[in-house]
């Protein structure tokens, strides 16, 4: 008995990518097995932005390949980083003097693949600079960066550095813009109902009815404390308070606030959560310069969401809001 709209379980990733590139054929195509690239490549004199990650999180990560964002996403199987050799294939496709900026989310599979592939690339004379995201604060506010996972905060990062690359900035400049953004971004996830692994049907992180876990990662890995859900406002307050404790936005600071739904939680609920978080930011005089309520990075049919908060410098606001992008799942008209 199956409870998902799938075919053979070992064909999920291939079929997903085929369907996706068919739907958005004027924007994206397959550049190799499990390698998604733009339909029309960016000019060779600009830095290429490449990322990697497991499937099962759609629209992430491939949904953000397109003009003004990513050049390429290299896809692994469900919840699994692509192998280093696959990633190396993709890096070979984007070899250029301007260099490749490789965005890696801090999960050990991704990091190990990226390191190995980068070594292979270096030997092949390919210039690669890595940018590691680690904005999850569930492990604590003071833990070292390497103990913090990369969550959906990578996606506004793609928008910002993608726009910078489109403008012809150098790889060093882009990396600096990106590092600065990562340093000012914090994410916290909450889960309510758990999900099943689409290949083996395993229930990942069973949660009793009515209970939530703040701090659960995007593969059902635990990380926080469990509690009964009392109200949207209560959860929103707890989360935005922790994010503010981490980032300490000052009065007048401009921020980006995203509520990223991970699956079964509705846009209705996410809007209610956004409302409370935005109100608490406003109380501190913090300005929500940009917001989003949507599914960017999902965890199968899990219920819950990730709350992403970033303090934006002026150049970030420009790149985020005023630069165009045309990736299937993040279209921006710009100014």
């Amino acid at each position: 008995m199956i409870t998902k709209f799938i075919n053979a379980t070992d064909q999920i990733t291939r079929e997903t990518l085929e369907g996706y590139t068919m739907a958005y054929a004027d924007k994206v195509k397959l550049g190799g097995e499990n390698i998604v690239v733009r339909a029309t490549p960016k000019s060779m004199d600009k830095v290429a932005i490449v990322t990697l990650g497991g499937s099962g999180h759609e629209p992430a990560l491939s949904g953000f390949v397109g003009e003004g964002m990513l050049d390429c996403s290299v896809v692994g199987d469900i919840f699994a980083a692509p192998g280093a050799q696959r990633l190396f294939q993709a890096l070979q496709l984007f070899k250029r003097d301007a260099g490749i900026l490789l965005v890696v989310l801090n999960h050990s599979g991704d990091v190990m693949s990226a390191n190995m592939a980068t070594q292979l690339a270096e030997r092949a004379g390919i210039k690669v600079v890595k940018l590691l995201t680690h904005e999850d604060i569930s492990a604590g506010l003071d833990v070292p960066d390497e103990d913090r996972r990369g969550l959906a905060g990578c996606i506004p990062l793609y928008k910002i550095i993608g726009a910078a690359a489109e403008q012809g900035k150098s790889i060093e400049e882009i990396a600096e813009i990106g590092e600065r953004f990562i340093g000012q971004t914090a994410t916290l996830a909450v889960a309510m109902r758990s999900c099943t692994h689409p290949q083996n049907g395993a229930v990942i992180a069973e949660l009793p009815e009515g209970e939530i876990e703040i701090g659960m990662g995007q593969h059902g890995e635990g990380g926080g404390g469990r509690q009964m859900l009392t109200s949207a406002d209560d959860v929103a307050s707890q989360m935005i308070t922790q994010l503010m404790s981490k980032l300490k936005p000052a009065k007048g600071d401009k921020v980006l606030l995203i509520i990223n739904g991970v699956g079964a939680t509705t846009h209705m609920e996410m809007s209610i959560v956004f409302r409370k978080a935005a109100m608490l930011l406003a109380e501190k005089g913090v300005v929500v310069a940009d917001g989003k309520i949507t599914e960017l990075l999902t965890v199968q049919e899990q219920a819950g969401f990730q709350m992403i908060l970033s303090i934006l410098d002026e150049d970030h606001v420009e790149l985020l809001k005023n630069a165009p992008s045309n990736a299937p799942y993040w279209v921006n008209i710009g100014k």
Binding site: G54, G76, D77, I78, F79, A80, A81, P82, G83, A84, Q85, R86, Q89, H107, S108, G109, M112, S113, N115, M116, S138, A139, D147, R149, H197, Q199, N200, A202, V203, I204, A205, G215, G217, H219, G220, E221, G222, G223
Partner: protein, 209 residues
């Protein structure tokens, strides 16, 4: 048994696949407790890829290189780089079409070094290293020149190391975020690597030709 050939190693991989497949859903369940529930799926895929990639080569070095790159091309997850790195490491530690006892020990030591290029994890961190490291130590520490005995020593140490992970707190991988809550379950990777070593030993043990 004094030497091991490419064909024998291929047969060992087959046995490893068979044993791991029997434990596939158990391994995914272990991973579901402190990870993302896919280790059984991943390790089966990786051993399948290893077997496919092993077919062309005629000497051990080339075969291990093909296996390493094959795994890293067609399979995913932490397992891809860890197992891939292990075989690339093995390749660096061997020449020729056969290995004798001494070469076998060097080869496995070199395999461990290949993994260590990709992770700082060591014994006590609740990862596959808790199986691999004691296994290699036991193998290299064995006086015997008999390959079957060496592999048996490795398998016993790997299993003991895997069992020990139950009491450990995870310092690497997805389980790290669980902190204290990771205690009480065996690490999925340690368990699968112990099974692989058992398969290697079983294949060359009394019941093997």
């Amino acid at each position: 048994m004094n030497t091991i050939s490419t064909d024998q190693f291929r047969a060992m991989l087959q046995t490893a696949l068979t044993l791991v497949r029997e434990k596939e859903s158990y391994l995914s369940q272990l991973d579901a407790v402190t990870g993302d529930g896919d280790h059984g799926t991943a390790i089966v895929a990786a051993l399948n890829a290893a077997i496919t990639a092993s077919e062309a080569a005629t000497d051990l070095k080339a075969m291990f290189n093909d296996i390493g790159f094959g795994i890293m091309l067609t399979t995913s997850g932490s397992t891809s780089t860890l197992l891939g790195g292990f075989f690339l490491g093995m390749a660096e530690g061997i020449e020729g079409a056969e290995a004798d006892a001494g070469q076998l020990k060097t080869m496995f030591k070199s395999g461990l070094a290949g993994v260590s290029k990709n992770t700082k994890a060591a014994v006590g961190d609740k990862t596959m290293m808790d199986a691999l490291m004691p296994a290699v130590t036991a193998m290299t520490g064995t006086e015997s020149e008999d390959i079957a005995e060496i592999l048996a020593a490795g398998a016993a140490a790997a299993r003991k190391g895997a069992e020990a992970t139950i009491a450990m707190k995870a310092n690497f991988g997805r389980a790290r975020n669980y902190g204290e809550r990771s205690i009480g379950t065996m690490d999925a990777g340690a368990s699968s690597w112990a099974t692989i070593f058992e398969a290697f030993a079983r294949h060359t043990g009394p019941s093997a030709k």
